[in-house]
């Protein structure tokens, strides 16, 4: 076999079961690719010993005919998931040295099904960011070169401060970069306002944020508990479906985790979408919208229509309130969740003369600028006198946003097609340094989905005029991820398989 890292997750699974390839060979190929790609900074910790042990154990199980759904398949894990005995810091300095004594439910289920852990992936600190530039471990570079850049230019920038290279999106930037650069078959990610879907769109990969409650949040470092959901980033729609099936499912350790069987999502791939009613929301057509994005969206509509779907114009009137309301709700929950980082029980500790000084100095030293900003905004909107004006009002607006979706679903709409991002990927160091809101606008198409708790899938849909990947988003009814996989597969097939960048990085 030539290069085993060229196989998709489904292809690798089939090759392992057919004994054309061993998990050990596959895992070694990935460990080699990771070593050559260290300049991208996608992995912050590599776990080769664990990976090789897991691969050998998988090969033994395959030999005995006991292969699980992901047996022997090497994947990467976002640093937000607790992995027993392995670095888990959500890429924050405040969790300095933290090695959990327990495993997150999502990763435990992946290991139960036979997956192999390659290492921990970079991310924005506490998942707060849209470019993976807020990580304590430095920015991640996208494997997609900026337009008209040579490989040598790219390597020189990697060796320097990475400026000018493209961001992979965020917060799951390490996951997206690693999947796109073929440094793992697929990766776990998480999504609070778009952190799975925006990086997937920027890197030509497929990502799904399932319905709130579909995956257990146990052992995931919390950002905004009413919005956070686990999900995969993978090379295509089928691989994402295979990953989600293992990640999802009921868990008594998370009281918000939904108690219902997990369907075989892979079976939804290739299913006819004839007669499906697809809504196109007029409020997503923004003033001054990038014409390329608008054109791509129209193209997506035509693909689905050509496959037999009925296209209807719909209205989601409260769309424009979603992003501002999110920037009240998410920081409020973050300020509460992040109160636990106090230098007493785990992580960083800066000595103080009294307990208050210990807290204040530890948190000042441990939180980066974006995290501090959001904790302070959250503290303000929850403080006495402002709680009703900001927080309660935002939660009422959240009810209105959800009601908009309920109305169109009640009218028979099966799924909604929208753009995924306002543009293709931008450069490292290009956005948000003067005004934090500039970066927040990246989530304008994705954040409504979190506010309403719905599933959202982003699949690659084409390239910009400059040759950079662009994605489209499909939004579904609660717990109807299967429909999104069926529609996403049609879109992917119509767009043609995206060729991922060749390794210029080393």
């Amino acid at each position: 076999m030539t290069d085993p890292t060229a196989l998709t997750l489904a292809e690798a699974r089939d090759a392992l079961v057919a004994r054309k390839l061993s998990s050990l060979e596959l895992t070694q190929a990935y460990l080699g690719a990771m070593e050559r790609a260290r300049g991208l900074n996608a992995y912050i910790v590599e776990t080769p010993d664990q990976a090789l042990d897991m691969a050998r154990a998988s090969d033994a199980r395959i030999g005995k005919g006991e292969a699980g759904a992901l047996e022997g398949l090497p994947i990467g894990v976002k640093d937000l998931y607790a992995t027993k005995g392995v670095h888990t810091q959500a890429c924050s300095h405040v969790l300095d040295g933290f090695k959990p004594t327990y495993e997150s439910t999502v990763t435990a289920q992946l290991w139960r099904d036979g997956a192999v852990m390659l290492g921990k992936l970079n991310m924005d600190e506490f998942a707060m960011g849209s470019s993976n530039e807020t990580s304590y471990y430095g920015p991640v570079a996208s494997p997609w070169l900026p337009p008209n850049w040579s490989a040598a230019q790219g390597r020189a920038a990697l060796a320097a401060d990475k400026r000018g290279l493209l961001v992979p999106g965020g917060s799951s930037g390490g996951s997206a970069s690693a999947v796109s650069a073929r440094l793992c078959l697929a990766a776990t990610a998480s999504d609070t306002g778009g952190s799975i879907r925006q990086p997937a769109a920027f890197t030509g990969t497929c990502g799904i944020k399932p319905t709130y409650g579909r995956c257990s949040r146990y052992g995931m470092v919390a950002f905004a508990s009413s919005l956070d959901q686990a999900g995969p980033i993978a090379r295509n729609v089928r691989d994402a479906a295979i990953m989600l099936r293992s990640m999802a499912g009921h868990d008594p350790k998370d009281s918000t985790c939904y108690d219902a069987p997990v369907p075989d999502y892979e079976a939804a791939i290739g299913r006819s979408i004839k007669g499906f009613k697809i809504g196109v929301p007029r409020e997503y057509r923004l003033d001054g919208m990038n014409p390329e994005i608008e054109k791509l969206w129209g193209q997506g509509v035509e693909w689905l229509r050509a496959a037999g779907a009925d296209i209807v114009d719909i209205s989601l009137p409260n769309t424009r309130h979603a992003l501002p309301a999110y920037y009240i709700v998410a920081p409020a929950e973050a300020s509460s969740n992040l109160a636990r980082y106090d230098g007493v029980r785990y992580g960083l500790r800066e000595p103080g003369n009294d307990i208050a000084e210990l807290y204040e100095k530890t948190r000042a030293a441990g939180f980066g600028a974006e995290v501090r900003r959001r904790v302070m905004i959250g503290t303000y909107v929850l403080s006495a006198g402002y709680y009703d004006a900001y927080y309660v009002r935002a939660q009422k607006i959240r009810t209105l946003i959800k009601r908009d979706f309920e109305t169109v679903f009640a009218d028979g709409v099966d799924a909604i097609l929208t753009p995924a991002t306002p543009s293709a990927a931008f450069g490292i160091g290009e956005k948000g340094s003067a005004d934090p809101v500039e970066m927040y606008l990246n989530d304008v198409f994705t954040v409504t989905v979190n506010m309403a708790g719905l599933p959202g899938l982003v699949a690659p849909a084409g390239l910009s005029a400059e040759g950079l990947p662009l994605g489209l988003q499909l939004i579904g009814r609660p717990f109807d991820e299967g429909t999104l996989f069926s529609l996403g597969a049609v879109m992917e097939q119509s767009a043609g398989r995206m060729s991922l960048p060749q390794p210029w990085w080393g």
Binding site: G97, K99, T101, S226, Y327, Y359, A364, A394, L400, P436
Partner: protein, 95 residues
């Protein structure tokens, strides 16, 4: 609504994050930029709308009132920056 420098210091105190004098004007600008971004929400008619408490309607599950773990002091303290015997150590709190 916007915040002044005294309010920024008050918020930092409530959030238990030490800020330096040089950081305060900077934070004031950033926080006000975000507050002005969310200001438009004040004009939305929310009369009679219930605030959201659970995004997916679901009954809070109850579990049997039994002990499910314990006797794991070493695991609880495994990541402590400073511990002695079975306790986390902190500066003196009570004189």
């Amino acid at each position: 609504m916007s915040v002044d420098q005294a309010t920024v210091r008050r918020i930092a105190y409530l959030a238990r994050i030490a800020v330096t004098d040089e950081e305060v004007p900077h934070l004031e600008g950033e926080i006000n930029a975000i507050l002005s971004f969310v200001e438009a929400l004040g004009a939305v008619d929310v009369a009679g709308v219930e605030p959201m408490t659970s995004v997916i309607p679901m009954k809070l599950p109850l579990r049997a009132d039994v002990v499910t773990d314990g006797e794991i002091e070493s695991l609880v303290l495994a990541n402590a920056p400073l511990a002695e015997d079975d306790f986390f150590l902190v500066p003196k709190v009570i004189e």
